[in-house]
Amino acid sequence: MDFKLTAEQEKLRKSLSEFCAAEIGPRAAEVDEKAEFPAENWKKLAEQGVMALTVPEQYGGAGKDLATALTAISVIAEHCASTAEVVATSMLCAGKAIEIYGSEQLKGRILPELAKGCEIGALAVSEPGAGSDVSAIKTTAEKCGEEYILKGEKSYITNATVADGIVTLTKTGDSFTVFAAPKFAAGICVGAPARTLGMRGAVAANISFNDVNLGDNNILGGYGNGLAVIADIFDYVRLNVCAVANGISVAAYNVAKNHAETRESFGKPLAAHQIVAFRVTDMHVDADVSRMLMYNAAWKKQNGEKCAPFVALAKVSASDTAIKNSDRCMKVLASAGLSADSPAQRIYRDARLMEIAGGTNDILRQIIARDQLEL
């Protein structure tokens, strides 16, 4: 048992915190307002080596473990949740799929580019008619000689507008198969950016595959193994949501704490009023417990233990807390929180995606319960 970060992780957390406070945080409002991919933030974080964290060393990465990557994503999310989301989507969702299930050739070509931040990845599973119910997808990949022809539409795909490669789940007859499709493949068409409540910098759009030709080399994890591959990748997706959500919870706490300590009412700081102090205290308590649940789930994943229910419960806890904390933050800031100039309202809007992304909390609760009830 050991509840602390390693010295190396702690060092990274500290230096990245300082970096983000100086470089990422100040741009968060602008990222939100423009509702565009935060290219400047991406570039700067790539220079810091963030995109390379989980990529194996032989492919130009740093070969760090999951806990290190989640620590970094949480820190970024404390300053700009949208930026954290685009980084995590590329590094942990698409990147892990390529790293674990890609052919040697695919890995050799893509991973070094992802590590440098020169290429951006996306993961496309949801469709207009299939979200949590993954096996209801309608996108097909039909085998024609040596090639596969992809047809269908994916919706709400983060990074769709900027991605160089898209990892996607298709139906192949009675089975499912995961493909990595290069963005330049003919027939891939990206729709208009979705106008969203929050997380506006993590731009999402629909992607349609109109007779896109791909080869065997584009298959991840073997023909017909799509559901198992995607189940494994979903653990990473959910852990990435945990990390972003926990960052949001801490951001909400920091904003509320700062306001409570500096704003005075009835001749004393808000923090000296018991109800406010208790509310801010509860924000810390819930964020802290959710953070431990994330590391616990990540540790199980890293060690190949059965982890899906633990990942699910960490995700539910983290996202519920993000929403709760963003709400508490608004209460502490009162009118000041409503202002478009306040980070509180952005945090409040950003938090909402967390209970939806990576499987809604409703579906994740079912995963937890089915495991408990052996259904």
Partner: protein, 389 residues
């Protein structure tokens, strides 16, 4: 980070769980109904070594460490030991035994610890008074030194094991003017002249532990029974036991939550309504999921405190956090457990009914939730005006 429990600890938990399920649980219903302490269960726990867990071997202890002690208590409650029995264990082992172990001099340790570690000399702890609960420093019981004795006067309230303990660690004022630093700790034997037990208190839950007032009327305590330096009792005892109290004592709370979850899962799978087990209904599944999330969160908070204590890392904030989080989510878990059981959950023969009543003490005992928030908030927030010192 590393979240594993080693094989030895896993085996230990399993053996405690089986012991509790087979030897302790069958005794609980009868004593719960009577609202009586179960000496038979206590003796068995002593023989099994549950009271010896945290203490050094030279005093009859098992030197198990905080985490292993927690795991043991978690397994004991999960196996079906009642909240009352584990509360008695806590008052005895943690509140009476630990301060004697960590603050006591060699003579005191030799005299008291072996009996505590074996469970033969039941212990208790007297801090709370009719007018001093959360505001613990406002105790009014006095201790005046007279020759080689201290004379104690006052009343202690809500004292677990009060009617049956052999010795108590008691907090009393030795110098009223010195505030926090005028409060001392004593070991008071139950046969001390001038010591008596007030009326036994009838409680909502934890009914297999007995609770009463302690009355001190010119009670004579040998000066040799002063625990720690005079005037430092409140500070030293507080510091020593608080983190233990908010780890080892909480472990039984975690086990109780797990017991409720286990029972609810079992019931949901067996109970058929509308032609199917109720486990197949989404509303029941959601409750089960929420219970599991609460259990795992509580486990993290608890194990962290235990790990910190085993590694000599100060854990006051984390201990208060664990206590606050666990007791608050515990209420909801207990409530969901009864709700899943429906009418049967309202009946005394079902463990979830007992758990529901037992769990409420969590947000009150050892500092209310409000006091925990107060302590944590003080550590987190600056409450002084700008420029003020």
């Amino acid at each position: 980070m590393e979240f594993s429990i080693n094989e030895e600890q896993q085996a230990f938990m399993k053996s405690v769980f089986n012991f509790s399920k087979n030897e302790i649980y069958p005794l609980m219903e009868e004593f719960e109904k009577k609202g009586e302490f179960c000496w038979e269960a206590w003796k068995k726990m002593g023989e099994f070594g549950m009271m010896a867990l945290p203490f050094p071997e030279e005093y009859g202890g098992a030197n198990a460490g905080v985490l292993t002690t927690c795991l043991g208590m978690e397994a004991l409650t999960r196996g079906g030991a009642s909240g009352g029995l584990t509360l008695s264990w806590g008052a005895h082992t943690i509140l009476c035994g630990v301060p004697i172990w960590l603050i006591g001099n060699e003579e005191q340790k030799k005299k008291y610890l072996p009996g505590i570690a074996s469970g033969e000399k039941l212990g208790g702890f007297g801090l709370t008074e009719p007018n001093a609960g959360s505001d613990a420093a406002s105790v009014q019981t006095t201790a005046v030194k007279k020759g080689d004795k201290y004379i104690l006067n006052g009343t202690k309230m809500f004292i677990t094991n009060g009617p049956i303990a052999s010795q108590f660690v008691v907090i009393a004022v030795t110098d009223k003017k010195a505030g926090h630093f005028g409060i001392s700790a004593f070991i008071v034997d139950a046969d001390a002249p001038g010591f008596s037990i007030g009326k036994e208190l009838d409680k909502m839950g934890n009914r297999t532990s007995t609770t009463s007032e302690l009355i001190f009327e010119d009670c004579e305590v040998p000066a040799a029974n002063l625990l720690g330096p005079e005037g430092m009792g409140f500070v030293v005892v507080g510091k020593t036991i608080l983190e233990y109290e908010r780890s080892c004592l909480l472990a039984a709370g975690l086990g109780g939550m797990e017991n409720t979850l286990d029972e609810s899962i079992k019931y949901a799978k067996e109970r058929v309504q509308f032609n199917r087990p109720i486990a197949q209904f989404q509303a029941i599944q959601e409750k089960i999921a929420n219970m599991k999330i609460a259990v795992e969160g509580a486990r993290m908070a608890l194990y962290r405190v235990a790990w910190m204590k085993d590694n000599n890392i100060p854990a006051m904030l984390e201990a208060c956090l664990a206590k606050l989080f666990m007791s608050e989510v515990g209420l909801k878990v207990a409530d969901d457990g009864v709700q899943i059981h429906g009418g049967y959950g309202y009946m005394r023969e079902y463990p979830v009914e007992r758990n529901y009543r037992d769990v409420k003490l969590g947000t009150i005992g050892a500092g209310t939730s409000e006091v925990q928030r107060q302590v944590i908030g003080k550590m987190l927030l600056k409450t002084k005006k700008k420029g003020a010192k």
